[in-house]
């Protein structure tokens, strides 16, 4: 049996749903989403937005409970370093070099009954 077959699919769906929710939340706050799920060899950027001329990279973490730590706990120093590199790569490849940028984190809590809670922390790195 391939690893893929077991049950990764629901998790992927959960993550994608969380990202949708955050995108909607940010748009409502006047932050424009300009790119999504940008993926290169080194990893993936969830949401790339623009907030008053500042490029904002948002890492979205979705959880159904805090049993294994909060969504923010999942952004380890190692992952933060990768985000930093990905952000610079995106800027270079989209000719945005030199523009101000920041990295935000968004935590999404979803229980099985449709209740959703979003916390957005700015400039976490």
């Amino acid at each position: 049996m391939k690893r893929e077959d077991i049950s990764r699919k629901p998790l992927k769906l959960l993550g994608a749903k969380g990202e949708d929710e955050v995108a909607r939340y940010l748009q409502a706050k006047g932050i424009k989403v300009i790119d999504r799920n940008w993926r290169i060899k080194g990893g993936e950027l969830d949401l790339i937005c623009e907030d008053h001329g500042v490029i904002v990279f948002v890492e979205v973490k979705t959880r159904t409970s805090n049993m294994y730590g909060t969504p923010f706990d999942a952004i380890t120093p190692d992952k933060a370093f990768r985000l930093q590199r990905l952000a610079l790569a995106w800027m270079a490849m989209h000719h945005r070099w030199g523009q101000d940028y920041r990295i935000d984190a968004a935590g999404v809590w979803m229980d099985g009954f449709g209740a959703i809670e979003i916390e957005h922390r700015k400039a976490v790195l």
Partner: protein
């Protein structure tokens, strides 16, 4: 409120330094940064504090937490920062108001369940805090007895983090320490009555106690050298309140206050084994520099049995504390000074087999061995020992006698009187005991009666007494005079003093 400041105190030796603990909770990913030269135990506080907070029913701030210990240059050690860090976090998260914690110092280690644990050195910490003008403290329940000794600080003891928080929020004290001195008075069961005979050794001990003269007992095994030494604390004057606090403070740093009643007026008796190492003797340790045997014996007795069996360097490491009354230990983390003003009592067998006394019957040692044995005690150390006395096996009549000799209380009474006399004499001088009279003064203000002086001078002329020995005998003569109630040493006193140095020929 995302900023908080809590105060605590850290010890370098017995000296306290106020430490401000600042906590800032900032936006950002969950992280915990501890600044200000923490050691390993302190770095580990992160996990202890976190578990303790969560298990006490508080929430851990899932944000960027920065804890700064200032002054930043001072290396900070140990686990007694747990409680102040936890309280600072609770102030920063708004569980407690900043005002309720001002003017209070916090000391304590946290268990994972939020319980407050015993820490070393609470007594000296609080003593140092009084000097900084602090009036209130929160300390672990297990430390409440020693905290109660510092009367100028209102110490609230708590058995858990939530207990401490409860007090800060409501001002209610679940349990206030209320202990009286008498509870701590630890009576000893030792008494001079136990010692059979040994008239001259008893007398030597008394003179030693009066003038603070270091003493060496020489005698075969089983004659009572150790018994006598153990009983010297019982004939010393009881410690004053301040002195007892000082002694307890040192014992608190070493973490052995429980073995000795805090504030016990009985001078401490410390007897390191002859295999002890120099660091154990003078103090040491890589992280926290602990007081050694010399400091634990501060204001009391340091007794070394089988002194010639000690490693050569160990006895010589006593020379600095004997000279200055304190000991300075230098390590990578800094140097620390502990007081070490003790009365040195050494015991030795006369030869390796121990039987060379009286007629020397049964002694299997060669004459060279006998001569070398006591020479293991180095010259400079022996110079500092005023009294050398032989302890012979008690005779048959002494063993059978029902006349027990004097009790400790009787002797102590005389010692106290004699010390009062000498204290009066030295009222304007920096020293308090006869053994500390400087040589110059011995030849000037503190000479003996004329006949006594001419006796000592003739001994000097005939080379039976060295110049140094001359001064020692004169100091001893003053102690003998104090014991007999003479205002100035007489010829008799000088004779007695001369005899107290009788070990001279073999050394």
């Amino acid at each position: 409120m995302a900023l908080a400041r809590i105060r605590t105190l850290t010890l370098v030796g017995l000296e306290g330094h106020l430490v401000d603990i600042e906590v800032d909770i900032a936006e950002g990913l969950p992280s915990y940064t501890l600044l200000g030269l923490p050691d390993t135990a302190l770095t580990e506080s992160r996990d202890r504090v976190r578990s303790a907070l969560v298990n006490s029913g508080f929430t851990w701030p899932n944000r960027r937490v920065i804890v700064s210990l200032s002054p930043a240059w001072l290396p900070k050690k140990g686990s007694n920062f747990d409680l102040p860090i936890a309280i600072a976090l609770l102030v920063a998260t708004g569980e407690i108001t900043q005002e309720s914690c001002d003017e209070i110092i916090f000391v304590g280690e946290l268990g994972l369940d939020g319980s407050l644990r015993f820490v070393r050195g609470v007594l000296p910490t609080l003593l140092a805090a009084t000097k900084e003008g602090i009036t209130q403290s929160i300390i672990p329940r297990a430390n409440k007895e020693e905290a109660a000794l510092v009367r100028s600080i209102r110490s609230v003891s708590a058995s858990s983090l939530s207990g401490a928080v409860h007090f800060l929020v409501t001002g209610e004290i679940s349990d206030e320490p209320s202990v009286s001195d008498t509870e701590f008075f630890q009576e000893t069961h030792l008494d001079l009555l136990d010692v059979v005979g040994q008239k001259s050794a008893r007398f030597a001990s008394e003179i030693s106690a009066i003038g603070g003269h270091h003493i060496l007992f020489i005698g075969p095994p089983g004659t009572g050298k150790t018994m006598l030494a153990e009983r010297i604390p019982t004939i010393l004057p009881p410690l004053s309140h301040e002195r007892a606090l000082e002694v307890s403070a040192i014992h608190s740093v070493a973490g052995i206050l429980g073995e000795r009643g805090a504030l016990s007026p009985l001078p401490p008796f410390i007897s390191p084994h002859h295999t002890t190492t120099s660091p154990a003797m003078v103090g040491g340790g890589s992280h926290v520099v602990r007081p050694g045997a010399v400091s634990l014996a501060h204001e009391g007795i340091l007794f070394i049995d089988e002194a010639p069996e000690c490693a050569p360097g160990v006895l010589d490491s006593l020379r600095q504390p004997l000279e200055s009354g304190e000991v300075t230990i230098s390590r990578a983390s800094g140097s620390v000074t502990y007081p070490a003003n003790f009365l040195l009592v050494l015991a030795a067998n006369p030869c390796p087999c121990g039987k060379y006394s009286g007629r020397g019957r049964g002694c299997t040692c060669s004459s060279v061995q006998i001569r070398r044995y006591l020479q293991k005690l180095s010259g400079p150390l022996l110079d500092r020992i005023d009294i050398r006395t032989f302890v012979e096996a008690p005779t048959r009549t002494e063993m059978a006698s029902e006349n027990y000799g004097e009790s400790s209380a009787q002797v102590r009474e005389r010692v106290i009187q004699a010390r009062a006399a000498s204290a009066e004499r030295f009222a304007n001088d920096p020293w308090l005991l006869n053994s500390r009279i400087p040589p110059r003064e011995l030849r000037g203000r503190f000479t003996a009666q004329r006949q006594a002086m001419s006796f000592l001078h003739s001994e000097l002329d005939s080379e039976r007494l060295s110049a140094r020995g001359f001064h020692k005998v004169l100091r001893l003569a003053w102690s003998v005079a104090d014991q007999k109630g003479h205002t100035i040493p007489t010829l008799d006193d000088a004779h007695v003093a001369y005899q107290l140095r009788e070990g001279m020929e073999i050394l």
